[in-house]
Symmetry: C2
DNA sequence: AAATCTTTGTACGGTATCTGACATAACCCG
DNA sequence: CGGGTTATGTCAGATACCGTACAAAGATTT
């Protein structure tokens, strides 16, 4: 296993010459930093190394719901490689962190070469598609306890930590529910000893327990986000 | 506007030499024909010309929910171009029709050329992603009346008809609800004069009315599925 | 230390949807 | 024509979640 020091799933898998051509710039992501906003031109791709960002869709009544989560496995703005010029959804930092930016022209040039970068970028888009589809089904069929457990686990995985700062208010937005509903649901998970929290600081205590409480959607999404860069799940050239 | 006789959005936009290289075969799709099944290798792509197919995700309790809809704009199996070898979800015909099949090797070869076929295929994947994300949000926030209206409109658009055969039982599966709930909700739309139906035969009577009853998600998804092949929304090379 | 803001707990009536059951009517088949 | 199947209508009790409101406690500012 070759290693080049990157934590980002995609960057980690790339050779030095490709990395060089991408002309990456280190970036810090503050809490609540808006990475993309609907209508804005996409000028940069971002490869997260640490932290977590959410993509949300905003409805006419101002309410929003999460439709995608980004962590160390992510490439934010890949849709620019799919022929999209302008951002369609809001993307913003939920857990501060850092990563790398890449000019979209550099990424497009590398993508057009049709090599390993293209291969991985497409695999990642596919993983994002699975995430969105599974979420669509999940949101239609599973209750808040299952979905909250799923969200907390995915978040912990993406951010690679068992403790993070998210208020019930934010969680309600992510899951498309009301704050009091989240408070009661989180209270249930707390009483079961699966998590603990206070004033926005959440700690996951029992991952296997939470996984059992959550629906199958967690493992399906996790599997795709964790393994999209693996050879055995892919067409080996 | 050049025209080559195809009704499929993607095929319609391709030049004769590309069409030739894809070595298309005409295919008929019977009602309830299983086009893909989870775990099956993807051997062919399918370009629908008429009819409608649904992609569903099946949960552990055997229930299923629709996560994608395919009509004359569709390429079924594009994920094979994204590096996926095996089908992840069930895809089956809801409205009988016909189209063209294409061996996956031929499609991959053409895709690797990096020309207009690749461009359109990627644009279509992006449209599918938008559909899945918007559905995820919609399923979390909107009620059955809105979502049923959305589904009926999208279905009518995909299949290019205002009359089609779908039972309440099937609709319940698509939307992730129960059959009696659909019956009451459909009854409301009927009493409002927006649709009429009997024993699985549904007819849409008032598209603007249904659109108003539905949520904004309908037009967002429709817009992307209708226009992914347009130049102005894309990066023009 | 007081005032203010943020976060969480909780309660309560209202609504949407579930669950399961039963009835009816249309259609299909022999 | 009669019996079985499929599609729909409907109902009633249970549950999940909404919508709103208010209180309490920790954090932050003055």
């Amino acid at each position: 296993m070759r290693t080049n020091g990157f934590k980002n799933t995609l960057l980690k898998a790339l050779d030095g010459d490709i990395i060089e051509r991408l002309r990456l710039q280190p970036v810090k992501f503050e809490l609540n930093h808006e990475i993309e906003n609907p209508g804005d031109p996409i000028d940069n791709l971002y490869f997260l190394e640490e932290g977590m960002a959410s993509m949300t869709t905003t409805f006419k009544d101002e309410s929003q719901v999460e439709v995608g989560m980004f962590g160390y496995e992510s490439v934010i703005g890949v849709s620019a490689l799919m022929g999209t010029k302008k951002s369609l959804n809001r993307v913003y930092t939920q857990i501060a962190g850092h990563g790398y930016s890449c000019r979209v022209e550099d990424a497009r040039r590398e993508f057009r070469l049709g090599g390993y970068f293209q291969f991985l970028a497409l695999r990642y888009v596919q993983a994002q598609l699975v995430q969105a589809m599974q979420s669509a089904g999940c949101n239609a069929k599973h209750n808040f306890e299952q979905r909250l457990a799923r969200w907390l686990l995915l978040c912990a995985d993406r951010a690679n930590t068992d403790t993070f700062k998210i208020s019930h208010e934010f969680l309600a937005d992510m899951l498309g529910g009301r704050r009091p509903t989240i408070s009661t649901t989180a209270g249930i998970l707390k009483r079961k000893g699966l998590i603990e929290y206070a004033r926005g600081e959440i700690r996951i205590l029992d991952i296997p327990g939470l996984t059992k409480t959550s629906c199958e959607c967690y493992l399906i999404i996790k599997d795709h986000l964790d393994n999209y860069a693996e050879f055995d799940t892919a067409i080996t050239a």
